[in-house]
Symmetry: C2
Subunit: 436 residues, 2 copies
Amino acid sequence: MHQPPDRSGARSLDPHLSRYAARAEGMTASEVRALFAVASRPEVVSLAGGMPNLAALPLDSLSQQMASIVAEEGMTALQYGSAHGVPQLREQICEVMALEGVHGHPDDLVVTVGSQMALDLVTRIFCDPGDVVLAEGPSYVGALGTFASYQADVRHVAMDEQGLVPAALEEAIAAVRAAGKRVKFLYTIPNFQNPAGVTLAVPRRAEILDICLRHDVLVIEDNPYGLLGFDGQIYPALRSMDRDNVIYLGSFSKTFASGLRVGWALAPHAVREKLVLAAESAALCPPTLNQLVVSRYLATHDWKGQIKSFQTMYRERRDALLAGLEQHMPPGCTWTRPDGGFFVWLTVPEGVDTKAMQPRAVTARVAYVPGTGFYADGFGSRQMRLSFCYPPPERITEGVRRLASVLAEELELLRTFGPTARRAMSGAQAPSPDTA
Amino acid sequence: MHQPPDRSGARSLDPHLSRYAARAEGMTASEVRALFAVASRPEVVSLAGGMPNLAALPLDSLSQQMASIVAEEGMTALQYGSAHGVPQLREQICEVMALEGVHGHPDDLVVTVGSQMALDLVTRIFCDPGDVVLAEGPSYVGALGTFASYQADVRHVAMDEQGLVPAALEEAIAAVRAAGKRVKFLYTIPNFQNPAGVTLAVPRRAEILDICLRHDVLVIEDNPYGLLGFDGQIYPALRSMDRDNVIYLGSFSKTFASGLRVGWALAPHAVREKLVLAAESAALCPPTLNQLVVSRYLATHDWKGQIKSFQTMYRERRDALLAGLEQHMPPGCTWTRPDGGFFVWLTVPEGVDTKAMQPRAVTARVAYVPGTGFYADGFGSRQMRLSFCYPPPERITEGVRRLASVLAEELELLRTFGPTARRAMSGAQAPSPDTA
């Protein structure tokens, strides 16, 4: 049998190793993903996943609509479409964005296979290997994966409870410039951020946009949770304040149904043309059927009412999580208090390593995502993301109780043996400083 | 208003021009795409598009199935899935591939958003900028777009009526080696090739695989048409003869419904792991709903019978096209005679430039795709692709009649004014040599 030349010393593991592109080295399984297998066991309370809760969806009427679409428009629904997306859906998406003050033209919008694909295409057309991308610290794990797969150099910018810190953004840009590199864009999730749960304060929005404009830094605004504010509040999108220097990414994954994989990018016209070309070479076109399903849903359902019921459901879960944390967490823990979205960001006392603690948490039947997965640079070892989107309130309460016990044991061990012994026992890395 | 620095001289067209990645330069609209707008006017007989004809699909029963899926499995169908794909569908796809002698394990298969995405992911994990990809000359326009978007260097390998020429493959590999470059893979469509309509002869298959193995060249086998042989013949897949050095790409776009965008890659195990990671960063997961629709279709419909009726329909259309060409084409034209798939490849007499002639053909209400779109190197100016998949037989006959008139006029002009005058009039480039 033929064997390619062994340049790696690891031929027995993968005979194709010498063939991969340089970018393939950055493709490693995320910590979130590795966790899902254990976290999905029924006895475990999963505060790990970011899966929306679909129980509130009107399945019967959706089922009937799906049938009508295929019966009435089957020849369109089952046929190739354009890479740009179904025109009617693009118009409807513009109406959805208008709720956030965005006035976009349907021509400047590209429908994608979830907003993940929109992010992939944006990175594809803008990032050469080594180009710098700025992102909040912490940031969405899926975005970090995409940036890594294009060999972008991610630098984190600190957040506080008001979101991205303008002075930190200025500093980060200056530091990159000083090193002779170029910032291609700022990637930001302004509303109910994943994973931090914080929202960029409205007065800061203009400030952040101004800094980016002055330094010739494009802004990628990722906004999957914007309509999930628990008091019905809707923040003005960054795109509503700057149409020329912002690319807006949106999604129906959290406001309707993630399994349809319908997202979009709204971009300045010339960029949109590049996005369509990139989309064509990536997947020819997004599935037509799925676009028609979303289009008909928007046209015939009370989708705003549906979002209201999602808000109510997620607010109850957020309340259960915050109440549980308040009641059970040992002293020295701090956490964010999101007013929308899916996530709370928890910081544990010094000496505790959330990644090292994770197996013990799963043994105690509770799962979370350790903070390091949300940083490109190893920070986050004292943090974890807690999702309140999926389990019902009483399970969330029970999950927090279990998590608090594990943490209490961990702290007890620390007091007894000191942090050195603890780290040696767990085999984990030393805790790192953290900017978030 | 802020303006980024003008390094390009084209700021007025696109203020973002200085920001794009180097790879974005390779992203230009394909000739096929530019043509679709005019070719889709109802008075035009389009022999241009590659859209499958879905008229034979059982829409009523599909409609009922779609309704049941959402009613019975809605919480799964509308939820995120894994980037790997729905397990049951992966098993069923293995059964489909078994018809071509492929014995793959469901674990080694990744479900993708059409096989276009599978091709994108394969290129992403293997191709660094400048890496050489070998492809038949001519080759699938969508693959050339993907290769360009990863800055791969495409070299064409000649075909004859038996498909890829082994000696030409040896030569191409040697030439690349001599120039100090590396061939990353051979991209081939062995059955009813797009656009040439030829099939790789069975005795040549082992020969091609052996050459690739000897020279450490991976094989990407793209097989969307393999089950559409007009006499029900099924050729053994390259993957059936070499499981370690072939990645097989498949699709339901031509055998079921293109608008669902369900395709796949079957790869050696280690490569499959990389593909799943790449798929995750590209689009998180393929739409769950679409996978369940295909899975249920395969489980409950007579899908083999459906493919037989597709074969019958496409055979009649192929017959109409070949009969029309026989009857109407002026002397000096040659064409391929496909025994499956969607396409005939036509070569016109010397002096005629198919791209220059295209506007006159559209004026005469017939559309085709000029040959140059199927080459990365400007060849193909004396060729065109004729698709027989979409229009009914009588329209195909009429289309060929119109095409023959345009060609006759073109030849008349050539005889009167000579090729120099003709080229000056049309503004097109001089005809290039052609290897196909």
